[in-house]
């Protein structure tokens, strides 16, 4: 189950709604405004802005598919066959193709979006590709094919008297089966020597009660052949205003729609940066300045909600009055989604502007909501975000501006105030457009990583798990389980890596799966891979310590009462080796211990620890720690404590004091530890060796150990040698806290004071 962390789905929908409700005030009255009364005759307005070119006309001689006349020509609406040149078409064309390269497509009339998506959701090469079908009144339907971006979804309404911004249903493109006439292939076909954008246009189609008709009607001198077809209909000129086309000898054309949509980097834009002359903050200093990034190297920010703070970008007085597209700069660098400077998901920009050129004294305000947190993203790579198009006057009295107001925000996070761009609305319309379409892809769900097969042919305890990089992922979580159902699964890794080295894994079969995550969502779990670690026969050494190496590692040694009375720890010394040149002297290490000469008395109040762990006994059937011991201490009070723990703090084992009469074998059976019992099956086990003395009598030397071996056994034979309990008492010590000694037996020793 995917987890959408923030914002909530409800909030996303609200943002989408807010974005779609953005008002581009300042346009003329809606072009081609339709009504139910008009619908039966003329109700269509151009499906695009500006001027285009008809590249394929409607074929009125469309043969009935698969049967009758077999013609391969086309018939124009004049009745002239085999159109050439300006009347270019192709056989069976049931609509009008307009050459429109990645420009906004507008609904030709009000209605309801019946379909918005791929012609075949599984095969995007098919047919109209990404397209929109709109149901209008009186059984009419329009189709807009081969789009690259959709701005509407199934069920959306194109309101009656919709403003121009609400009319835009998407961006044209070349999706589906789409041939263009500017390609370098035969007859202008696109090849892969052409840009992948080759062939962009819109296929515009009109249907009436399920039958297709030519929106330009039929003007031929004889009956329209198409009207006789099973799926044909009588064609009537349905245009309230004909689309503007350059090849106007093909169809009637009217002047282009004068309201241009949003454009990028058109000539003449001017940017007002935060901190510049045209910028004002109120009250002064209510924003924090960050000079590390942002437009022109800086931006301002503050935490919201809270405060009453505005940032105002004034329309430059030296800029000619006119319609301008407004863009706000969001200072999020192209960095990981989880590291963003602006995180507010509903920044409200108030745009104060002039109503229209004919009413220079009439002012009004509109609000544009921008999800700062969402930009940039993979679909909207620019940091400039469109906030609508407005008419700005000379601004002599500070009436025309863009203002960001912190106190009216209804979301929390970091609000950024950076630059604002005023871009004159001009013709012709460039290819690229800005539209707040990003929410279609929000939140950005990471793809599911693919777990690679685990290579461990020998069944050994060490192997590597790796997985593929997932798009949009920041981190990964790897789970391990002993059951394929992942019951009782544990997280083995969480982080940015795409691999994990597993070492010292006990025998068994392990199942793994991984998922990806970013700041907003998680992917699903990946495929499952398993690996089997075979059980070796007999004893396996986990760790050995013969004190011949350069250090005690991986054992850890320390003086548990620190420097009090001097620092004495276990140390590698040549004083009394059992084998080789060194053995471990209980007080021969540390700042003072290293200075002790061989044969010296051990100090009072020593508390010298040596620990190894954790190690894994989950699949083990036996385990022990064995060692050689040389002991000469005050009986009952200055012990060596050898022990084990399952939490790294509470150690249980045996205490031995007195004179060992030379080197002796000692061992702790990990299947029979005092109090803890058997440690077989424990995932984490520690072992410790402690030398301790009290503040009274001290003997020469004290304690040495050598040839310490920690073992486990997964498969017989694993008989154990040696005995733990001889000359020893069970006990429990705590480490690494201040020294605490709780004698379990004999009772007389429980009165032994701590330090």
């Amino acid at each position: 189950m995917r987890t959408f962390r923030r914002p909530s789905t409800g909030r996303i929908l609200a943002i989408v709604a807010a974005l779609l409700a953005l008002t581009a005030v300042g346009s003329d009255a809606p072009v081609g405004a339709s009504s139910a009364f008009q619908q039966s005759t003329r109700f269509l307005s151009p499906p695009y802005y500006g001027t285009s070119e008809v590249t394929s006309v409607f074929d009125h001689e469309l043969p009935l598919y698969g049967s009758d006349d077999g013609n391969s020509w086309t018939m124009h609406y004049t009745g002239v066959k085999d159109g050439a040149g300006a009347r270019s078409s192709y056989d069976q064309h049931r609509g009008i193709d307009y050459w429109l390269r990645y420009e906004p497509v507008r609904a030709a009339a009000s209605g309801a979006v019946a379909q918005a998506g791929w012609a075949n959701p599984a095969d995007h090469r098919a047919s109209y590709g990404l397209h929109v079908r709109i149901d209008h009144a009186d059984g009419f339907r329009t189709i807009y094919g081969h789009l690259s971006v959709l701005r509407v979804q199934q069920g959306d309404a194109i309101p009656f008297l919709a403003n121009e911004f609400q009319r835009i249903i998407g961006i044209s493109g070349n999706t589906g089966l789409c041939y263009g006439w500017e390609g370098t292939g035969p007859s202008g076909r696109c090849t892969d020597n052409d840009p992948p954008s080759c062939g962009a246009h819109i296929h515009f189609q009109l249907e009436h009660n399920g039958r297709v008709e030519n929106p330009y009607g039929w003007v031929g001198p004889f009956a329209d052949p198409w009207a006789q077809r099973p799926d044909g209909a009588v064609s009537v000129d349905r245009w309230l205003s004909h689309p503007s086309i350059t090849n106007s000898d093909v169809f009637p054309a009217d002047p282009p729609l004068s309201f241009p949509p949003i454009v990028l980097d058109e000539p003449g834009y001017v940017a007002v940066d935060d901190g510049s002359a045209g910028f004002a903050e109120n009250p002064a200093g209510c924003w924090t300045v960050d000079n590390t990034t942002g437009w022109d190297g800086d931006y301002r920010y503050r935490s919201v909600p809270g405060g009453d703070c505005t940032a105002t970008w004034n329309f430059p007085q030296d800029q000619p009055a006119g319609y301008h597209h407004v863009f706000v700069h969001v200072p999020n660098d192209d960095v990981a989604l989880s590291v963003r400077n602006a995180t507010v998901d509903a920044a409200r920009y108030t745009i104060g502007h002039t109503v229209s050129p004919s009413q220079p004294q009439a002012k009004q305000s509109d609000v544009a909501v921008v999800n700062q947190w969402a930009y940039p993203n993979r679909y909207h790579t620019s940091r400039w975000v469109y906030a609508g198009t407005y008419y700005f006057d000379s601004n002599e009295f500070g009436t025309d501006y863009v203002r960001l107001e912190s106190q009216v925000l209804d979301s929390a996070g970091t609000l950024a105030a950076d630059a604002v761009r005023f871009a004159p609305a001009v013709y012709p319309v460039p290819q690229q457009t800005y539209l707040p379409l990003t929410m279609k892809q929000w939140p950005p769900i990471p793809t599911t990583p693919l777990l690679n097969p685990i290579d461990n042919p020998s069944g050994g305890p060490d192997y590597t798990i790796s997985w593929s990089t997932a798009a949009l992922a920041d981190t990964y979580t790897l789970q391990e389980a002993s059951e394929p159902s992942f019951a009782g699964a544990v997280t083995r890794y969480s982080g940015p890596q795409t691999w994990l080295d597993v070492n010292d894994q006990p025998p068994g079969t392990y199942y793994y799966r991984v998922k990806a995550a970013n700041a907003w969502a998680e992917s699903g779990w990946s495929n499952v891979q398993s690996v089997t670690v075979l059980a070796p026969v007999g004893w396996q050494t986990i760790a050995a310590q013969d004190f011949e190496g350069a250090s005690l590692a991986p054992w850890i040694a320390w003086d548990d009462n620190g420097a009090t009375g001097g620092e004495y720890t276990w140390g590698q010394r040549t004083c009394r080796p059992y084998a080789g040149s060194y053995s471990g002297w209980g007080v021969g290490g540390g700042a003072q211990g290293a200075a002790l000469s061989c044969g010296s008395d051990y100090p009072h109040n020593a508390n010298s620890w040596m620990i190894y762990g954790p190690f894994d006994l989950r699949a083990a059937i036996a385990g022990d720690i064995g060692f050689k011991l040389w002991l000469y201490t005050e009986s009952y009070t200055d012990p060596v404590f050898y022990s084990a723990s399952v939490n790294g703090t509470n150690f249980y084992g045996y205490i031995i004091t007195g004179d060992s009469q030379g080197w002796v074998d000692k061992a702790l059976d990990l299947s029979n530890v005092p109090t803890l019992g058997s440690l077989m099956g424990q995932p984490q086990v520690w072992v410790a060796m402690v030398f301790s003395s009290n503040g009274s009598i001290a003997y020469p030397e004290g304690a040495y150990v050598d040839d310490v071996v920690v073992r486990r056994c997964f498969q017989e034979p694993c008989s154990s040698e040696g005995s733990s309990a001889v000359d020893s008492f069970p006990g429990m010590w705590q480490a690494p806290a201040e020294r605490h000694l709780y004698w379990l037996a004999p009772d007389s020793l429980k009165t032994e004071p701590g330090p």
Binding site: N71, N120, Y128, G129, L130, P196, Q205
Partner: protein, 402 residues
């Protein structure tokens, strides 16, 4: 960045079909065929493919793939010429072929700039006719029934949007009780009685931004159960294994990016226990293809996911064919072309070979025209069957001996 210097030709352009021309040549047939008037089984395993700048459907005997590969390009083939006219007016292409399980029929996808249609080829005679009950209606071929007698067709997409079960021989049809916006449907194999008998699996999407759902129901429309609800993805080509005990499908992002990387998933026969087994190409319409024994799935893997041009233009795809073992999830590549577009895998009837098409040349360079190749499913060198034939969409039908 797009590899603009690549000289791969746009085979789509070369495979243009005039539907008008189709209209008068549909009954031409194989030159050797006996017009019995009824669909018959072939007398041997036969490989079919589309070829030529004036598209034709060719067939060649393929009982002995080893020999077929050794005699590359010299094996005699029979042709049904699709009489494409010389004009470049008709904006249609053949975009796929689907053999019926009984080896008697091939459904042919005809993809047009403004709509899509389906043709039906009688394998033994070469007769070709529209598959739609109403030939002026658009349609997308969906799937054959397990016995090969009928097929599911999505008719009038975006309009009435019907799912029809059409008898291949008679053309009679029944309407399936699937909801609006159903874009795929498939009938189950003959499942064991305890699994509930014949079931229909169908996939639904309201459009971009709504994700998709997959449902199963009885053929009567009763006992509906939603088995997948994925608001962020489109479930493409859910396909039961021949034994009915597993389902394979491609999960692809619900996105306006035409061509992306998706995932191949396997589930149990009831749609549960879904697990991702591999990354797979998404958006080009390449379904997972089960081996005849239901042990393996062949699928197309995109090799250039970083190439943004390939996200929006189909010919820029670089791909290979991989296999996954259903039982273990182990994946391996069976073709290893570099920089080539490889697609259309189809299994030999005995499941030991795969036929496919690629634009790779003999030297392994992309940029040639498409040809049909073979490769042993167990592994080995790919072998050419056609040479410079602009051949795609192979279908390998079983003969009577099977």
């Amino acid at each position: 960045m797009a590899v603009m210097s690549k000289t791969r030709k746009l085979s789509l352009a070369l495979a243009l079909v005039s539907l008008a021309a189709l209209g008068i040549t549909l009954v031409r047939g194989w030159s050797s065929a006996v017009a019995s008037g009824q669909a018959q089984s072939l007398d041997s395993d036969t490989l079919f493919f589309v070829s030529g700048s004036q598209p034709a459907i060719q067939r060649m005997r393929a009982n002995d793939p080893e020999r077929l590969a050794e005699q590359a390009a010299s094996v005699a083939a029979e042709t049904v010429q699709i009489d494409a006219n010389q004009r470049f007016g008709a904006m249609c292409e053949i975009s796929g072929m689907h053999g019926s399980p009984d080896g008697r029929w091939i459904a042919v996808d005809v993809n047009c700039e403004a709509g899509a249609h389906t043709l039906l080829l009688e394998a033994s005679t070469g007769r070709l006719r529209p598959a739609e009950p109403d030939p002026w209606r658009e349609s997308f071929f969906l799937n054959w029934t397990p016995d090969g007698d009928a097929f599911l067709l999505r008719v009038d997409p975006g309009g009435d949007d019907l799912t029809l079960l059409v008898n291949a021989r008679s053309g009679r049809f029944t309407q399936m009780d699937t909801p609006l916006f159903t874009y795929d449907a498939v009938l189950s194999p003959n499942l064991p009685a305890q699994a509930g008998g014949e079931r229909v699996l169908y996939a639904v999407s309201r459009g971009l931004g709504f994700g998709s759902e997959v449902w199963v129901m009885d053929r009567s429309g009763q006992n509906r159960e939603r088995i997948i609800h994925d608001p962020a993805h489109v479930i493409a080509y859910p396909r039961w294994s021949p034994t009915g005990d597993a389902i394979a499908y491609i999960r692809m992002p619900d996105s306006n990016v035409p061509f992306t990387v998706g995932e191949l998933l396997l589930t149990d026969g009831d749609g549960r226990n879904a697990r991702v087994v591999a990354q797979a190409d998404a958006g080009h319409g390449y379904p997972p293809v089960w081996s005849p024994d239901g042990q393996q799935v062949a699928f197309v893997v995109r090799e250039n996911p970083e190439d943004g041009a390939a996200d929006i233009a189909a010919p820029y795809l670089e791909s290979n064919i991989h296999l996954v073992e259903a039982a273990t999830g182990r994946v391996r590549a069976v073709t290893r072309f570099e920089g080539a577009l490889v697609d259309g895998p189809t299994w030999s009837p005995d499941g030991t070979w795969l036929a496919f098409s690629t634009d790779s040349s003999d030297s392994g360079q992309a940029g040639g025209v498409f040809d049909v190749w073979l490769v042993e499913a167990a592994g080995g060198e790919a072998r050419r069957v056609t040479r410079d034939a602009d051949a795609r969409w192979p279908v390998w039908l079983p003969g009577e001996r099977r």
